[in-house]
Amino acid sequence: MTDLDSEIRSLAASRRLPDSHLEKWLHLDESSRSALLELARTLKLRTAQIVTALDLLDEISVREGKLIADLLDRPSIHRLTRGAGSAPGRAHAFLEELRAMRFPRLRETIVRLETAIAALRLPHGIKLLLPRELSSDELTIQLTVSDADGLERLLNMLMEKRRELARILAMLGGGDEV
Protein backbone atom coordinates (compact mmCIF):
# COMPACT_ATOMS: atom_id res chain seq x y z
CA MET A 1 0.00 0.00 0.00
CA THR A 2 1.40 3.44 -0.90
CA ASP A 3 1.59 6.34 1.51
CA LEU A 4 -1.05 8.08 -0.55
CA ASP A 5 -3.45 5.17 -0.22
CA SER A 6 -2.79 5.01 3.51
CA GLU A 7 -3.64 8.67 3.85
CA ILE A 8 -6.85 8.18 1.84
CA ARG A 9 -7.82 5.19 3.99
CA SER A 10 -7.09 7.16 7.10
CA LEU A 11 -9.25 10.07 6.04
CA ALA A 12 -11.99 7.68 4.89
CA ALA A 13 -11.92 5.94 8.26
CA SER A 14 -12.15 9.21 10.14
CA ARG A 15 -15.17 10.20 8.01
CA ARG A 16 -16.70 6.69 7.98
CA LEU A 17 -16.80 6.82 4.20
CA PRO A 18 -18.78 3.89 2.71
CA ASP A 19 -16.58 1.08 1.40
CA SER A 20 -18.01 1.44 -2.09
CA HIS A 21 -16.79 5.03 -2.31
CA LEU A 22 -13.44 4.31 -0.72
CA GLU A 23 -12.92 1.64 -3.39
CA LYS A 24 -13.97 4.09 -6.09
CA TRP A 25 -11.43 6.61 -4.76
CA LEU A 26 -8.64 4.06 -4.55
CA HIS A 27 -9.30 2.91 -8.12
CA LEU A 28 -8.60 6.36 -9.54
CA ASP A 29 -5.27 7.14 -11.16
CA GLU A 30 -2.63 8.44 -8.77
CA SER A 31 -2.87 12.11 -9.73
CA SER A 32 -6.65 12.05 -9.28
CA ARG A 33 -6.43 10.22 -5.93
CA SER A 34 -3.96 12.78 -4.71
CA ALA A 35 -5.84 15.84 -6.00
CA LEU A 36 -9.05 14.71 -4.36
CA LEU A 37 -7.31 14.03 -1.06
CA GLU A 38 -5.80 17.49 -1.02
CA LEU A 39 -9.15 19.04 -1.82
CA ALA A 40 -11.00 17.01 0.82
CA ARG A 41 -8.52 18.20 3.42
CA THR A 42 -8.48 21.83 2.28
CA LEU A 43 -12.26 22.14 2.24
CA LYS A 44 -12.75 19.82 5.23
CA LEU A 45 -15.33 17.85 3.23
CA ARG A 46 -17.82 15.88 5.29
CA THR A 47 -18.75 12.28 4.51
CA ALA A 48 -21.80 13.06 2.39
CA GLN A 49 -19.86 15.75 0.55
CA ILE A 50 -17.06 13.33 -0.31
CA VAL A 51 -19.62 10.80 -1.55
CA THR A 52 -21.33 13.43 -3.70
CA ALA A 53 -18.02 14.76 -5.01
CA LEU A 54 -16.80 11.27 -5.95
CA ASP A 55 -20.04 10.46 -7.77
CA LEU A 56 -20.15 13.77 -9.63
CA LEU A 57 -16.46 13.70 -10.53
CA ASP A 58 -16.77 10.12 -11.79
CA GLU A 59 -19.69 11.09 -14.04
CA ILE A 60 -18.07 14.29 -15.30
CA SER A 61 -14.88 12.36 -16.00
CA VAL A 62 -16.78 9.83 -18.16
CA ARG A 63 -18.84 12.54 -19.89
CA GLU A 64 -15.82 14.63 -20.80
CA GLY A 65 -13.25 11.85 -21.18
CA LYS A 66 -10.90 13.58 -18.76
CA LEU A 67 -9.07 12.59 -15.62
CA ILE A 68 -10.48 13.80 -12.33
CA ALA A 69 -7.13 15.46 -11.62
CA ASP A 70 -7.62 17.56 -14.76
CA LEU A 71 -11.15 18.48 -13.72
CA LEU A 72 -9.93 19.61 -10.32
CA ASP A 73 -7.21 21.66 -11.97
CA ARG A 74 -9.71 24.00 -13.63
CA PRO A 75 -9.58 27.70 -12.72
CA SER A 76 -13.18 27.65 -11.48
CA ILE A 77 -12.22 24.98 -8.94
CA HIS A 78 -8.97 26.72 -7.99
CA ARG A 79 -10.87 29.91 -7.25
CA LEU A 80 -12.98 28.01 -4.75
CA THR A 81 -10.27 25.98 -3.10
CA ARG A 82 -7.80 28.85 -2.81
CA GLY A 83 -10.25 31.70 -2.30
CA ALA A 84 -11.37 33.40 0.84
CA GLY A 85 -14.29 32.29 2.96
CA SER A 86 -15.06 29.57 5.42
CA ALA A 87 -14.29 25.96 4.58
CA PRO A 88 -17.97 24.91 4.80
CA GLY A 89 -18.96 27.76 2.51
CA ARG A 90 -16.30 26.86 -0.02
CA ALA A 91 -17.20 23.17 0.23
CA HIS A 92 -20.81 24.01 -0.59
CA ALA A 93 -19.69 26.20 -3.51
CA PHE A 94 -17.37 23.43 -4.71
CA LEU A 95 -20.24 20.94 -4.94
CA GLU A 96 -22.39 23.50 -6.72
CA GLU A 97 -19.61 24.01 -9.23
CA LEU A 98 -19.38 20.26 -9.77
CA ARG A 99 -23.15 20.13 -10.37
CA ALA A 100 -22.80 22.94 -12.90
CA MET A 101 -20.04 20.97 -14.66
CA ARG A 102 -22.16 17.79 -14.61
CA PHE A 103 -25.33 19.52 -15.90
CA PRO A 104 -24.00 22.47 -17.91
CA ARG A 105 -26.97 23.12 -20.18
CA LEU A 106 -29.45 22.63 -17.36
CA ARG A 107 -27.59 25.22 -15.27
CA GLU A 108 -27.35 27.65 -18.18
CA THR A 109 -31.04 27.28 -18.88
CA ILE A 110 -31.97 27.83 -15.24
CA VAL A 111 -29.78 30.96 -15.11
CA ARG A 112 -31.35 32.26 -18.32
CA LEU A 113 -34.86 31.65 -16.98
CA GLU A 114 -34.07 33.21 -13.62
CA THR A 115 -32.65 36.25 -15.40
CA ALA A 116 -35.80 36.55 -17.49
CA ILE A 117 -37.96 36.28 -14.37
CA ALA A 118 -35.89 38.90 -12.52
CA ALA A 119 -36.22 41.24 -15.50
CA LEU A 120 -40.00 41.21 -15.05
CA ARG A 121 -39.59 43.17 -11.81
CA LEU A 122 -42.72 41.63 -10.40
CA PRO A 123 -44.15 43.26 -7.30
CA HIS A 124 -44.07 41.77 -3.86
CA GLY A 125 -46.88 39.25 -3.74
CA ILE A 126 -46.18 37.55 -7.06
CA LYS A 127 -43.65 34.74 -7.25
CA LEU A 128 -42.76 32.70 -10.30
CA LEU A 129 -41.46 29.27 -9.36
CA LEU A 130 -39.57 27.14 -11.84
CA PRO A 131 -40.06 23.36 -11.72
CA ARG A 132 -37.36 21.60 -9.75
CA GLU A 133 -34.44 20.90 -12.10
CA LEU A 134 -36.74 21.86 -14.98
CA SER A 135 -38.18 18.36 -14.82
CA SER A 136 -41.46 19.60 -16.25
CA ASP A 137 -42.61 22.55 -18.34
CA GLU A 138 -44.94 23.89 -15.68
CA LEU A 139 -44.42 27.37 -14.29
CA THR A 140 -45.99 27.98 -10.91
CA ILE A 141 -47.34 31.47 -10.34
CA GLN A 142 -47.86 32.18 -6.67
CA LEU A 143 -49.96 35.12 -5.48
CA THR A 144 -49.96 36.28 -1.89
CA VAL A 145 -52.77 38.70 -1.08
CA SER A 146 -54.81 39.74 1.90
CA ASP A 147 -57.63 41.77 0.33
CA ALA A 148 -59.59 42.16 -2.90
CA ASP A 149 -57.78 45.35 -3.95
CA GLY A 150 -54.44 43.60 -3.61
CA LEU A 151 -55.69 40.68 -5.65
CA GLU A 152 -56.93 42.96 -8.43
CA ARG A 153 -53.63 44.84 -8.49
CA LEU A 154 -51.59 41.63 -8.83
CA LEU A 155 -53.90 40.15 -11.45
CA ASN A 156 -53.65 43.36 -13.49
CA MET A 157 -49.88 43.21 -13.18
CA LEU A 158 -49.90 39.62 -14.44
CA MET A 159 -52.06 40.63 -17.39
CA GLU A 160 -49.63 43.43 -18.21
CA LYS A 161 -46.77 40.95 -18.17
CA ARG A 162 -48.51 38.18 -20.06
CA ARG A 163 -46.30 38.43 -23.16
CA GLU A 164 -43.15 38.16 -21.10
CA LEU A 165 -44.70 35.28 -19.16
CA ALA A 166 -45.55 33.54 -22.41
CA ARG A 167 -41.94 33.95 -23.47
CA ILE A 168 -40.74 32.33 -20.26
CA LEU A 169 -43.17 29.45 -20.77
CA ALA A 170 -41.86 29.02 -24.30
CA MET A 171 -38.31 28.86 -22.95
CA LEU A 172 -39.39 26.23 -20.43
CA GLY A 173 -40.99 24.25 -23.23
CA GLY A 174 -37.93 24.05 -25.43
CA GLY A 175 -38.23 27.29 -27.39
CA ASP A 176 -35.34 28.41 -29.52
CA GLU A 177 -33.74 30.42 -26.75
CA VAL A 178 -32.81 27.28 -24.79
Binding site: F103, T109, P131, G173, V178
Partner: protein, 363 residues
Protein backbone atom coordinates in the same frame (compact mmCIF):
# COMPACT_ATOMS: atom_id res chain seq x y z
CA UNK B 1 -25.25 -11.02 -38.53
CA UNK B 2 -23.42 -13.54 -36.36
CA UNK B 3 -23.83 -13.63 -32.61
CA UNK B 4 -22.01 -15.79 -30.07
CA UNK B 5 -24.17 -18.49 -28.56
CA UNK B 6 -22.79 -20.70 -25.77
CA UNK B 7 -25.62 -23.15 -25.29
CA UNK B 8 -28.89 -24.29 -26.80
CA UNK B 9 -31.39 -25.65 -24.28
CA UNK B 10 -34.61 -27.21 -25.51
CA UNK B 11 -37.56 -28.04 -23.31
CA UNK B 12 -38.70 -31.65 -23.82
CA UNK B 13 -42.20 -30.41 -24.68
CA UNK B 14 -40.71 -28.35 -27.52
CA UNK B 15 -38.33 -31.03 -28.78
CA UNK B 16 -40.36 -31.88 -31.88
CA UNK B 17 -41.35 -28.31 -32.70
CA UNK B 18 -40.41 -26.71 -36.00
CA UNK B 19 -38.53 -23.98 -34.15
CA UNK B 20 -36.43 -26.44 -32.12
CA UNK B 21 -35.61 -28.35 -35.28
CA UNK B 22 -34.53 -25.19 -37.08
CA UNK B 23 -32.32 -24.15 -34.16
CA UNK B 24 -30.76 -27.59 -33.86
CA UNK B 25 -30.02 -27.72 -37.56
CA UNK B 26 -28.49 -24.27 -37.49
CA UNK B 27 -26.49 -24.62 -34.28
CA UNK B 28 -26.40 -28.26 -33.21
CA UNK B 29 -23.01 -29.07 -34.65
CA UNK B 30 -21.26 -26.08 -33.11
CA UNK B 31 -22.59 -25.83 -29.56
CA UNK B 32 -23.89 -28.22 -26.89
CA UNK B 33 -27.62 -28.96 -27.03
CA UNK B 34 -29.36 -29.91 -23.82
CA UNK B 35 -32.89 -31.18 -23.33
CA UNK B 36 -34.64 -30.35 -20.08
CA UNK B 37 -37.97 -31.38 -18.62
CA UNK B 38 -38.53 -28.03 -16.94
CA UNK B 39 -36.96 -25.01 -18.65
CA UNK B 40 -37.70 -22.57 -15.85
CA UNK B 41 -34.35 -23.10 -14.16
CA UNK B 42 -32.58 -22.60 -17.48
CA UNK B 43 -33.85 -19.07 -17.92
CA UNK B 44 -32.68 -17.83 -14.52
CA UNK B 45 -29.47 -15.81 -14.06
CA UNK B 46 -26.21 -17.73 -14.06
CA UNK B 47 -23.85 -17.16 -11.10
CA UNK B 48 -21.37 -15.14 -13.15
CA UNK B 49 -20.17 -11.55 -13.06
CA UNK B 50 -22.60 -10.39 -15.74
CA UNK B 51 -25.59 -12.77 -15.81
CA UNK B 52 -27.50 -10.53 -18.21
CA UNK B 53 -24.77 -10.81 -20.84
CA UNK B 54 -24.41 -14.55 -20.22
CA UNK B 55 -28.15 -14.91 -20.70
CA UNK B 56 -27.90 -13.39 -24.16
CA UNK B 57 -25.71 -16.30 -25.27
CA UNK B 58 -27.86 -19.02 -23.70
CA UNK B 59 -30.79 -19.84 -25.98
CA UNK B 60 -33.76 -21.63 -24.45
CA UNK B 61 -36.47 -22.99 -26.74
CA UNK B 62 -39.63 -23.45 -24.70
CA UNK B 63 -43.37 -22.95 -24.74
CA UNK B 64 -44.96 -19.70 -23.71
CA UNK B 65 -47.82 -20.10 -21.26
CA UNK B 66 -48.94 -16.47 -21.20
CA UNK B 67 -50.72 -14.76 -24.11
CA UNK B 68 -48.46 -13.65 -26.95
CA UNK B 69 -50.41 -10.50 -27.70
CA UNK B 70 -50.38 -7.56 -25.32
CA UNK B 71 -50.63 -3.79 -25.28
CA UNK B 72 -47.33 -1.99 -25.58
CA UNK B 73 -45.82 -1.91 -22.07
CA UNK B 74 -44.78 1.72 -22.58
CA UNK B 75 -48.43 2.72 -22.73
CA UNK B 76 -49.83 4.81 -19.91
CA UNK B 77 -52.61 7.29 -19.38
CA UNK B 78 -49.88 9.87 -18.66
CA UNK B 79 -48.63 9.66 -22.22
CA UNK B 80 -49.93 10.02 -25.72
CA UNK B 81 -49.72 6.53 -27.15
CA UNK B 82 -49.53 5.21 -30.68
CA UNK B 83 -51.86 2.24 -30.33
CA UNK B 84 -49.04 -0.25 -30.83
CA UNK B 85 -49.68 -3.88 -29.95
CA UNK B 86 -46.90 -6.26 -29.08
CA UNK B 87 -46.39 -9.93 -29.89
CA UNK B 88 -43.97 -11.52 -27.44
CA UNK B 89 -42.31 -14.27 -29.47
CA UNK B 90 -38.92 -14.08 -27.73
CA UNK B 91 -37.31 -12.50 -24.70
CA UNK B 92 -33.90 -10.82 -24.60
CA UNK B 93 -31.67 -9.97 -27.51
CA UNK B 94 -28.20 -10.96 -28.71
CA UNK B 95 -27.23 -7.33 -29.17
CA UNK B 96 -26.24 -5.29 -26.14
CA UNK B 97 -27.27 -1.65 -26.04
CA UNK B 98 -26.04 0.04 -22.90
CA UNK B 99 -29.33 1.85 -22.38
CA UNK B 100 -31.60 -1.16 -23.00
CA UNK B 101 -34.54 -1.50 -20.61
CA UNK B 102 -34.24 -5.29 -20.75
CA UNK B 103 -31.31 -5.00 -18.34
CA UNK B 104 -33.91 -4.25 -15.70
CA UNK B 105 -36.95 -5.90 -17.26
CA UNK B 106 -35.54 -9.43 -17.65
CA UNK B 107 -32.89 -9.29 -14.92
CA UNK B 108 -34.48 -12.29 -13.18
CA UNK B 109 -34.85 -14.40 -16.33
CA UNK B 110 -32.16 -13.21 -18.72
CA UNK B 111 -31.73 -16.28 -20.92
CA UNK B 112 -32.67 -15.75 -24.54
CA UNK B 113 -36.08 -17.39 -24.72
CA UNK B 114 -37.63 -18.43 -28.01
CA UNK B 115 -41.19 -19.69 -27.86
CA UNK B 116 -41.74 -22.87 -29.83
CA UNK B 117 -45.54 -22.48 -29.83
CA UNK B 118 -45.31 -19.04 -31.43
CA UNK B 119 -47.84 -19.94 -34.13
CA UNK B 120 -50.48 -19.96 -31.37
CA UNK B 121 -50.30 -16.18 -31.64
CA UNK B 122 -52.19 -16.41 -34.92
CA UNK B 123 -55.39 -17.46 -33.14
CA UNK B 124 -54.98 -14.50 -30.78
CA UNK B 125 -54.57 -12.19 -33.75
CA UNK B 126 -57.67 -13.61 -35.44
CA UNK B 127 -59.64 -12.95 -32.27
CA UNK B 128 -58.29 -9.41 -32.12
CA UNK B 129 -59.32 -8.67 -35.69
CA UNK B 130 -62.76 -10.20 -35.12
CA UNK B 131 -63.24 -8.11 -31.96
CA UNK B 132 -63.29 -4.83 -33.89
CA UNK B 133 -64.33 -5.44 -37.49
CA UNK B 134 -63.03 -2.82 -39.89
CA UNK B 135 -60.43 -1.46 -37.50
CA UNK B 136 -56.75 -1.69 -38.42
CA UNK B 137 -54.15 -2.83 -35.93
CA UNK B 138 -50.38 -2.44 -35.99
CA UNK B 139 -48.72 -5.36 -34.25
CA UNK B 140 -44.99 -5.64 -33.66
CA UNK B 141 -42.53 -8.21 -32.39
CA UNK B 142 -39.69 -5.89 -31.46
CA UNK B 143 -40.44 -4.99 -27.86
CA UNK B 144 -38.81 -7.69 -25.70
CA UNK B 145 -36.48 -8.82 -28.48
CA UNK B 146 -35.16 -7.53 -31.78
CA UNK B 147 -37.53 -8.74 -34.52
CA UNK B 148 -34.83 -9.94 -36.90
CA UNK B 149 -31.60 -10.51 -34.95
CA UNK B 150 -31.95 -14.30 -34.93
CA UNK B 151 -34.08 -14.60 -38.04
CA UNK B 152 -31.45 -16.41 -40.07
CA UNK B 153 -31.70 -19.20 -37.47
CA UNK B 154 -35.38 -19.13 -36.56
CA UNK B 155 -37.03 -18.14 -39.83
CA UNK B 156 -39.94 -16.77 -37.79
CA UNK B 157 -40.33 -13.72 -40.01
CA UNK B 158 -41.41 -15.94 -42.90
CA UNK B 159 -44.18 -17.56 -40.83
CA UNK B 160 -45.36 -14.17 -39.64
CA UNK B 161 -45.35 -12.56 -43.07
CA UNK B 162 -47.27 -15.45 -44.58
CA UNK B 163 -49.94 -14.96 -41.93
CA UNK B 164 -50.13 -11.17 -42.03
CA UNK B 165 -50.05 -10.70 -45.77
CA UNK B 166 -53.50 -12.28 -46.02
CA UNK B 167 -55.06 -10.18 -43.23
CA UNK B 168 -56.49 -6.91 -44.44
CA UNK B 169 -56.85 -5.35 -41.01
CA UNK B 170 -53.60 -6.46 -39.43
CA UNK B 171 -50.23 -4.88 -40.15
CA UNK B 172 -47.02 -6.45 -38.89
CA UNK B 173 -44.14 -4.27 -37.74
CA UNK B 174 -40.72 -5.87 -37.57
CA UNK B 175 -38.47 -3.60 -35.52
CA UNK B 176 -34.71 -4.07 -35.66
CA UNK B 177 -31.20 -2.69 -35.30
CA UNK B 178 -29.79 -5.28 -37.69
CA UNK B 179 -29.44 -5.65 -41.44
CA UNK B 180 -30.72 -9.21 -41.23
CA UNK B 181 -33.18 -9.04 -44.11
CA UNK B 182 -32.41 -12.07 -46.30
CA UNK B 183 -35.58 -13.93 -45.32
CA UNK B 184 -37.64 -10.81 -45.98
CA UNK B 185 -36.30 -10.46 -49.49
CA UNK B 186 -37.54 -13.95 -50.29
CA UNK B 187 -41.15 -13.24 -49.28
CA UNK B 188 -43.77 -10.97 -50.80
CA UNK B 189 -45.43 -9.00 -47.96
CA UNK B 190 -48.26 -7.66 -50.14
CA UNK B 191 -48.02 -4.31 -48.39
CA UNK B 192 -48.97 -5.65 -44.99
CA UNK B 193 -45.55 -5.52 -43.35
CA UNK B 194 -43.61 -2.55 -42.06
CA UNK B 195 -39.94 -3.01 -41.28
CA UNK B 196 -38.73 -0.34 -38.91
CA UNK B 197 -35.27 0.59 -37.78
CA UNK B 198 -34.11 2.31 -34.68
CA UNK B 199 -31.67 4.96 -35.85
CA UNK B 200 -28.98 6.72 -33.86
CA UNK B 201 -26.02 8.83 -34.90
CA UNK B 202 -22.66 7.09 -35.26
CA UNK B 203 -21.51 8.50 -31.92
CA UNK B 204 -24.33 6.72 -30.09
CA UNK B 205 -23.90 3.54 -32.12
CA UNK B 206 -20.19 3.34 -31.34
CA UNK B 207 -20.58 4.19 -27.69
CA UNK B 208 -23.76 2.36 -26.78
CA UNK B 209 -25.21 -0.03 -29.37
CA UNK B 210 -22.92 -3.01 -29.15
CA UNK B 211 -23.16 -5.81 -31.73
CA UNK B 212 -25.73 -3.92 -33.79
CA UNK B 213 -25.48 -3.03 -37.47
CA UNK B 214 -24.10 0.42 -38.18
CA UNK B 215 -26.64 3.18 -38.86
CA UNK B 216 -25.52 3.27 -42.50
CA UNK B 217 -26.04 -0.49 -42.82
CA UNK B 218 -29.52 -0.16 -41.31
CA UNK B 219 -30.43 2.59 -43.78
CA UNK B 220 -29.09 0.55 -46.69
CA UNK B 221 -31.13 -2.44 -45.51
CA UNK B 222 -34.22 -0.22 -45.32
CA UNK B 223 -33.78 0.75 -48.93
CA UNK B 224 -33.51 -2.88 -49.98
CA UNK B 225 -36.69 -3.99 -48.22
CA UNK B 226 -38.49 -0.93 -49.53
CA UNK B 227 -37.59 -2.01 -53.05
CA UNK B 228 -38.82 -5.50 -52.20
CA UNK B 229 -42.32 -4.25 -51.39
CA UNK B 230 -42.14 -3.58 -47.66
CA UNK B 231 -43.15 -0.39 -45.95
CA UNK B 232 -40.48 1.21 -43.78
CA UNK B 233 -40.51 3.28 -40.61
CA UNK B 234 -37.83 4.75 -38.39
CA UNK B 235 -37.60 5.13 -34.65
CA UNK B 236 -35.38 7.90 -33.36
CA UNK B 237 -35.69 6.38 -29.97
CA UNK B 238 -33.86 6.72 -27.72
CA UNK B 239 -32.77 10.19 -28.74
CA UNK B 240 -29.80 11.16 -26.63
CA UNK B 241 -29.06 14.84 -26.02
CA UNK B 242 -25.28 14.60 -25.86
CA UNK B 243 -23.31 17.80 -26.59
CA UNK B 244 -22.97 17.26 -30.37
CA UNK B 245 -26.39 15.70 -30.77
CA UNK B 246 -28.03 18.33 -32.94
CA UNK B 247 -25.60 18.35 -35.88
CA UNK B 248 -25.19 14.58 -35.63
CA UNK B 249 -28.93 13.93 -35.81
CA UNK B 250 -29.19 16.38 -38.73
CA UNK B 251 -26.52 14.44 -40.61
CA UNK B 252 -28.31 11.19 -39.84
CA UNK B 253 -31.59 12.52 -41.22
CA UNK B 254 -29.81 13.78 -44.33
CA UNK B 255 -28.19 10.37 -44.86
CA UNK B 256 -31.55 8.67 -44.42
CA UNK B 257 -33.35 10.95 -46.86
CA UNK B 258 -30.55 10.56 -49.41
CA UNK B 259 -31.29 6.82 -49.43
CA UNK B 260 -34.98 6.54 -48.59
CA UNK B 261 -37.25 9.19 -50.16
CA UNK B 262 -39.38 11.00 -47.60
CA UNK B 263 -42.58 10.08 -49.40
CA UNK B 264 -41.78 6.39 -48.99
CA UNK B 265 -41.38 6.55 -45.21
CA UNK B 266 -44.49 5.22 -43.47
CA UNK B 267 -43.81 6.83 -40.13
CA UNK B 268 -41.28 8.27 -37.72
CA UNK B 269 -41.21 8.03 -33.98
CA UNK B 270 -39.16 10.00 -31.51
CA UNK B 271 -38.52 9.38 -27.86
CA UNK B 272 -35.93 10.67 -25.46
CA UNK B 273 -33.71 8.27 -23.57
CA UNK B 274 -35.57 7.41 -20.39
CA UNK B 275 -34.39 5.23 -17.58
CA UNK B 276 -35.61 4.41 -14.15
CA UNK B 277 -32.89 5.07 -11.57
CA UNK B 278 -32.61 1.29 -11.14
CA UNK B 279 -32.06 0.80 -14.86
CA UNK B 280 -29.47 3.56 -14.92
CA UNK B 281 -27.61 1.93 -12.04
CA UNK B 282 -27.69 -1.45 -13.79
CA UNK B 283 -26.55 0.09 -17.06
CA UNK B 284 -23.75 2.05 -15.36
CA UNK B 285 -22.51 -1.10 -13.65
CA UNK B 286 -22.28 -2.86 -17.01
CA UNK B 287 -21.07 0.13 -19.04
CA UNK B 288 -19.26 2.44 -16.62
CA UNK B 289 -17.45 4.31 -19.39
CA UNK B 290 -20.38 5.07 -21.68
CA UNK B 291 -20.94 8.85 -21.65
CA UNK B 292 -24.31 8.41 -23.35
CA UNK B 293 -25.70 7.14 -20.04
CA UNK B 294 -24.70 10.39 -18.39
CA UNK B 295 -26.73 13.04 -20.10
CA UNK B 296 -28.46 15.92 -18.37
CA UNK B 297 -31.30 13.73 -17.14
CA UNK B 298 -33.62 14.72 -14.33
CA UNK B 299 -36.27 12.70 -12.57
CA UNK B 300 -39.75 13.20 -13.97
CA UNK B 301 -43.17 12.65 -12.49
CA UNK B 302 -43.31 9.09 -13.82
CA UNK B 303 -40.17 8.08 -11.91
CA UNK B 304 -37.95 8.04 -14.98
CA UNK B 305 -34.85 10.03 -15.75
CA UNK B 306 -34.98 12.02 -18.98
CA UNK B 307 -33.10 14.99 -20.41
CA UNK B 308 -34.73 18.05 -18.87
CA UNK B 309 -37.84 19.12 -20.72
CA UNK B 310 -36.60 22.13 -22.62
CA UNK B 311 -33.58 20.23 -23.93
CA UNK B 312 -35.39 17.21 -25.24
CA UNK B 313 -38.27 19.18 -26.75
CA UNK B 314 -35.71 21.28 -28.55
CA UNK B 315 -34.10 18.13 -29.96
CA UNK B 316 -37.46 16.75 -31.09
CA UNK B 317 -38.32 20.03 -32.79
CA UNK B 318 -34.97 20.15 -34.50
CA UNK B 319 -35.44 16.64 -35.90
CA UNK B 320 -39.04 17.29 -36.91
CA UNK B 321 -37.91 20.51 -38.63
CA UNK B 322 -35.22 18.64 -40.52
CA UNK B 323 -37.76 16.17 -41.88
CA UNK B 324 -40.18 18.99 -42.67
CA UNK B 325 -37.55 20.45 -45.00
CA UNK B 326 -38.09 17.44 -47.25
CA UNK B 327 -41.48 18.98 -48.08
CA UNK B 328 -43.43 15.77 -47.55
CA UNK B 329 -45.54 15.27 -44.44
CA UNK B 330 -44.45 12.07 -42.74
CA UNK B 331 -46.69 10.62 -40.00
CA UNK B 332 -44.82 11.02 -36.74
CA UNK B 333 -45.38 10.56 -33.05
CA UNK B 334 -43.58 10.86 -29.74
CA UNK B 335 -43.12 7.86 -27.49
CA UNK B 336 -43.77 8.24 -23.75
CA UNK B 337 -44.43 11.97 -23.89
CA UNK B 338 -47.60 13.82 -22.97
CA UNK B 339 -49.97 15.69 -25.25
CA UNK B 340 -48.41 19.08 -24.41
CA UNK B 341 -45.04 17.85 -25.67
CA UNK B 342 -46.81 16.64 -28.81
CA UNK B 343 -48.30 20.06 -29.33
CA UNK B 344 -44.98 21.79 -28.79
CA UNK B 345 -43.26 19.58 -31.35
CA UNK B 346 -45.91 19.11 -34.01
CA UNK B 347 -47.99 22.23 -33.42
CA UNK B 348 -51.18 20.31 -32.77
CA UNK B 349 -52.62 18.07 -30.11
CA UNK B 350 -52.33 14.39 -30.92
CA UNK B 351 -55.18 12.17 -31.95
CA UNK B 352 -56.25 9.38 -29.63
CA UNK B 353 -54.20 6.13 -29.60
CA UNK B 354 -56.69 4.18 -31.69
CA UNK B 355 -56.66 6.84 -34.40
CA UNK B 356 -52.89 7.09 -34.40
CA UNK B 357 -52.62 3.31 -34.51
CA UNK B 358 -55.07 3.15 -37.40
CA UNK B 359 -53.17 5.82 -39.30
CA UNK B 360 -49.81 4.12 -38.78
CA UNK B 361 -51.19 0.71 -39.69
CA UNK B 362 -52.76 1.84 -42.92
CA UNK B 363 -49.99 4.28 -43.90
Amino acid sequence: MKFDIDALIIAEESRDSALANRMEQALGSSIPVTYVADPRAAVRPLPVADPFDAGKRRVVVMQRRAPFLMACPAGSSQFTCCGYLVLVLASNCPMDCSYCFLQEHVANNPSFQLYSNFTDCFAELERLAASAPGRHFRVGTGELADSLAMDSLTGISTDLIEFFRNREYLTLELKTKTDEIDNLLRTDPRGRVIVSWTLSPDAVWKSSEHRTASPSARIAAARRVLDAGYRVGFHFDPMIAYPQAEPDYCRLVDELLDTVPADRISFLSMGALRMTPELRNAARRRFPNDPMLLGEEVLGGDGRLRAFGALRIRLYRMLQGRFARAGVPIPAYLCMENSIAHKRVFGAAPANPATIGERLATG
